[in-house]
């Protein structure tokens, strides 16, 4: 009823027996709130369009049914009752229904005790619902670095969807499914981490329950350091590289980034250490270097003289050239620069980011970084770096630094590109595209048209071929490696599938630029054609091998790819361990074989490098020093920093770390050296320094044999011995 005294544009209503005046068009919910009456709700937020889906804000307006107050506008003379028995009973029933579908306590309730649903349910005495709990889980999504999704805790209030769409205009979130299986979805129901979500955090702050919670990064170890200077979000947003990053995100992650000051000579990070942070230099200069001796392990002696002791020593490639050893002039590291093989030292300055692979993929540090002057740097955890890398201005700055400082080296690192003229390199530096791929994402599929040549900038790419009965991994490529030339030079079709194994960044040279390059520089064409032919022949040979030995067990154990296997005939072997002792004796006390492994028939395939179909040892090497020869044998390049990741990754324990005492530069006192123990990864070298592998030579029972499995087992299989 509008009385004569009611001004235009206002409405008088009765609210719980009190006459109140509110602007026309106001919702009952807002009218109540304006007059100090608190109506409970879950789906409604003042900043969002009301949708009335939770129905918890029901009030009695004298109509046939209760009304959702958030979407019911006031009417003149309306009599609203917010706390009648009928209303409270309806709300309690609704809360019970929602609680029966809610994991109590949810993550939010556990962490901060402020799950709105559980708080309301407790107040209404509905914490223990009368209804049966949900039996089919809707699942969790932990793929985002910043936000945890628990679909079971979702009450479908849509606050997150409206936050994403109306408040942030990102339009990533929506509804999927119907009825009991309905839920929220990112893009076309992608995992949150793989979606176009930019982790602004709006959905999380909108969520009334534990369905969307931030991964707590407030009390982190990096923030606990004595020299760590934390930030408020407002301070960070003043810094140019943070322009455009969500303030909400920074607020929620304020423990995940700190500013550090390093004095001249301070060690910022050490090679081989495991870490989880990246550094972004704001001021000052730092020296990045590898202190490990640039050499590989070689065992010498013994064969020439009876009493000459066998010793394992470190020798550089100039003194001991191994078959198919690379002639790379640069060592790839986890920074915006590469190091030179002859002098592995470089300089980092303001605007340089290092430790990206350590931070994103948890690989060991690839180099030691020492402050050359007073250095101020941001140290950040993965969630912050991830959001920064999605920030266009930061991304552009990094890309520019990369193009300026490292791209030429990477291009020149491809042996065939050494002859490219400076003007063409300049052209490529401007025209190449820098692409990012998420873990597991396919970069190119076998059989697809080939349209690009790729250079790996960050991360690991798995190159695999499908063959009848499975997939064979041809290689893991890391920083500085390249792929795509076979398809472009051949029939224009991809011959292998290339998949990002972790967070991968690639330099893409378009097919047009590639063709222009090979036309203009015949030496490049010649070199690439030679490599392509070599790789193609090796692939053909492998396919032939695979097709010729279709024995399931033989295949499943990966035996057909091995060049040389150490097998122990278990019917002869007395388990005396003479082979293991001999191996240790031949390698300065570090055995490279363990008398354990998979069995094939009566033979034990001992744990000595098997040249696996899927050489997992190569995944994660922070300096890309372990790789396959074309023959599939593993070679460890001279710049191995001895971090041990390959040894840890090898499922068969076939890679060992051999310690050496060496003199290295003392970081604490410039110009002086100090003794240190440095490790180098080693695998079975077949005792090439001797005439016969020591394990075989020392076996007194004729049980140990080094065999070519294709010959040895093919004969056996032909006799029908294998089961």
């Amino acid at each position: 009823m509008t009385t004569a005294a009611t001004p235009p544009g206002f409405v008088d209503i009765t609210l719980d027996g009190q006459l109140v005046r509110v602007p026309a068009g106001t919702s009952v919910f807002d009218a109540a709130r304006m007059n100090g009456v608190n109506i409970p709700t879950l789906c409604h937020l003042q900043s969002q369009t009301p949708v009335g889906v939770c129905r918890l804000c029901v009030v009695d307006t004298g109509a046939r049914v209760l009304s959702a107050s958030c979407v019911r506008p006031v009417e003149p003379g309306m009599k609203v009752v917010t706390d009648s028995e009928k209303v409270l009973s309806a709300r309690k029933t609704l809360l019970e229904l929602m609680m029966s579908d809610h994991p109590s306590p949810c993550a939010r309730q556990q962490n901060s005790g402020d799950c709105e649903l559980e708080t309301l349910a407790k107040a209404a005495g509905a914490s223990q619902p009368r209804f049966a709990k949900r039996t089919i889980a809707r699942g969790k999504d932990d793929s985002s670095l910043a936000i945890a999704v628990d679909h079971d805790a979702c009450i479908l209030c849509d606050r997150c969807i409206r936050g994403c769409d109306e408040v942030k205009n990102n339009f990533v979130l929506g509804r999927m499914g119907k009825g009991y299986s309905a839920g929220i979805a990112f893009d076309l129901n992608s995992p949150m981490g793989d979606s176009t979500c930019i982790s602004c955090g709006e959905c999380m702050v909108s969520c009334p329950t534990g369905a969307l919670t931030n991964k707590s990064v407030v009390g982190t170890a990096i923030a606990a350091g004595p020299d760590a200077q934390g930030f408020e979000a407002e301070d960070l947003l003043q810094i140019s590289v943070f322009k455009g990053v969500s303030g909400t995100f920074l607020e929620l992650n304020r423990g995940a980034i700190v500013k550090r000051r390093f004095r001249k000579g301070d060690i910022i990070c050490r090679e081989g250490e495991f870490g989880s942070t990246a550094f972004y230099i704001l001021e000052g200069k730092a020296k990045v270097s590898i202190s490990t001796p640039i050499a590989h392990v070689k065992t010498q002696g013994g064969a020439k003289g009876l009493f000459k002791r066998l010793t394992s020593t470190l020798v550089p490639r100039e003194e001991d050239k191994r078959e198919e050893e690379t002639r790379d002039r640069t060592i790839p590291i986890d920074a915006s620069v590469d190091l030179s093989y002859g002098n592995p030292v470089a300089e980092l300055g303001p605007g340089d980011l290092f430790g990206e692979m350590t931070c994103m993929n948890f690989y060991p540090r690839s180099a030691t970084v020492i402050a050359e002057s007073d250095v101020v740097a941001f140290e950040m955890l993965r969630n912050v770096l991830d959001i920064m890398l999605k920030n266009k201005s930061f991304r552009a700055q990094l890309d520019q630094t990369y193009r300026r400082r490292a791209l030429e080296n990477h291009l020149r690192g491809v042996p065939m590109f050494a002859d490219l003229s400076p003007d063409f390199i300049e052209h490529l530096k401007e025209s190449v595209e820098l692409q990012r791929f998420a873990p597991g994402q396919a970069i190119a599929q076998q059989g697809e048209p080939a349209d690009s040549f790729y250079l790996v900038r960050i991360g690991f790419v798995k190159i695999s071929e499908n063959y009848p009965g499975g997939e064979m991994v041809l290689a893991y490529l890391s920083r500085g490696d390249y792929f795509g030339e076979i398809g472009l030079l051949g029939g224009g079709v991809r011959t292998a599938t290339c998949t990002a194994l972790d967070h991968v960044e690639l330099v893409r040279i378009s097919g047009d630029d590639f063709r222009q390059m090979i036309e203009r520089f015949p030496s490049v064409r010649k070199g690439l054609e030679a490599v392509a032919a070599e790789r193609h022949a090796a692939n053909q040979q492998r396919m032939q091998m695979v097709q010729n030995v279709p024995i399931e067990q033989f295949l499943s154990q990966g035996l057909m790819e091995a060049q040389s296997l150490l097998i122990l005939d278990l019917q002869n072997c007395t388990r005396c361990d003479a082979c293991v002792n001999a191996c240790a004796d031949a390698h300065d006390g570090i055995t490279r074989l363990v008398r354990d492994g998979l069995r094939f028939d009566q033979y034990l395939v001992a744990t000595s490098c098997r040249q696996c179909r899927d050489p997992l040892c190569m995944v994660g090497c922070p300096v890309g020093s372990i790789r396959r020869r074309n023959s599939l044998e593993v070679i460890i390049e001279d710049w191995c920093i001895g971090c041990g990741l390959c040894a840890q990754n090898c499922p068969y324990g076939n890679i060992n770390l051999h310690p050496f005492e060496v003199m290295i530069e003392d970081p604490a006192r410039a110009g002086r050296k100090k003794a240190a123990i440095k490790q180098k990864a080693t695998s079975c070298d077949l005792c090439t320094h001797l005439k016969e592998p020591s394990c075989v030579y020392a076996c007194p029972h004729d049980a140990a044999h080094r065999v070519d499995p294709k010959t040895f087992f093919a004969e056996m299989l032909g006799q029908g011995i294998a089961k």
Binding site: L501, Q571, T574, V619, P700
Partner: protein
């Protein structure tokens, strides 16, 4: 070492030496007026050869200490050890004219006989036991690791049984560490979900070497789980702790199988997967027990053979010096 046709060369050479020695000894003993004597020329020749063979046989131990020295393949040394060591016995008997002589020579003779026959016994064991072990212990692990593997099996069994019966306060492992115990030879299916080797994705995610998918946990009521609880505490746990204790039903594969079959009928089907897992664990423990026993057979005889050999060489040298000098 297996006695097969690859030994034919050594066998024929040894037989030839034995025949020549026997013929020489027979003609010597027939022509010698005072009968065969160790101090005579022929007797001394037998003695020198016999002792040389013994020394060669004993040098195998030294050869094993320098495995990387290129002084002949260890396999050739072992064959020499076997055949020449065996030949030492008839040569020394010819040397002594089948007389055991005084105290020292009597001791030497008995030492030689025991040493040679312990060696023959060892050779027989090394011929058969590896085959038995290969066949009967498919889940064999490194001998020194048996204790460790057993403790892993116990922890695994505790976790498995507590996942269906509720806590006994035994399990130490977290659910994330449900790696099957044993070496690679022991890698096998667990709780109906294959234990995969590392995948590249797992490696890049920093996962552990072999992680089984978490089995669905179905907690039985106290009444339902009572038979399993009792069987576990009274039989499985004691067996896993002391597999060598006599009179245990689970020590015998057949009895164990029927015990588990009986228990299966008393438990709801939801617990059968766990029961299968426990049966596998008991089987592995039984195999490890068998391996330990066979290993003792394979190497235990050396405790007699090696000290006697050393004593024989030492006393033999004393005898040689004394006999030649005095």
């Amino acid at each position: 070492m297996r006695m097969d046709k690859t030994q034919r060369g050594w066998a024929l050479a040894s037989l030839a030496i034995l025949v020549v020695s026997t013929v020489s000894y027979v003609s010597y003993s027939l022509t010698s007026p005072q009968g065969p004597r160790g101090g005579g020329t022929i007797g001394l020749i037998f003695g020198v050869f016999g002792f040389t063979f013994m020394i060669f046989a004993a040098l195998l131990g030294a050869r094993k200490r320098v495995p990387t020295w290129r002084v002949g393949r260890a396999q050739a040394w072992m064959r020499g050890h076997l055949w020449l060591g065996f030949l030492a016995l008839p040569l020394i008997l010819f040397h002594g004219g089948f007389h055991f002589g005084g105290t020292l020579t009597r001791v030497l003779m008995w030492l030689l006989i025991i040493t040679v026959f312990s060696g023959v016994f060892g050779a027989v064991l090394q011929h058969y036991v590896p085959r038995v072990m290969t066949t009967e212990v498919p889940l064999e692990t490194i001998y020194d690791e048996i204790g460790h593997v057993r403790s892993l099996l116990r922890e695994e069994a505790d976790c498995a049984v507590e996942s269906v019966c509720g806590s006994f306060g035994l399990a130490k492992l977290s659910n994330a560490e449900v790696q099957r115990a044993g070496g690679f030879t022991a890698l096998r299916t667990m709780a109906a979900s294959a234990v995969p080797l590392r995948t590249s994705a797992a490696v890049s995610a920093g996962a552990s070497a072999a992680v089984a998918a978490a089995p669905e946990i179905i907690l039985l009521s106290e009444e339902e789980s009572a038979p399993l609880r009792r069987f576990y505490l009274e039989e499985i746990r004691p067996f896993l702790e002391h597999p060598d204790r006599r009179g245990q039903r689970l020590s015998d594969a057949q009895k164990a199988s029927s015990a588990f079959a009986g228990l299966r009928t008393l438990l709801p089907s939801a617990a059968h997967t766990t029961l299968d897992d426990l049966e596998d664990i008991c089987d592995e423990a039984r195999q490890l027990q068998r391996q330990a026993r066979l290993h003792h057979w394979l190497h235990g005889w050396l405790l007699l053979h090696i000290p006697l050999s050393l004593a024989l060489i030492l006393l033999g040298a004393i005898h040689a010096v004394m006999a030649l000098r005095f």
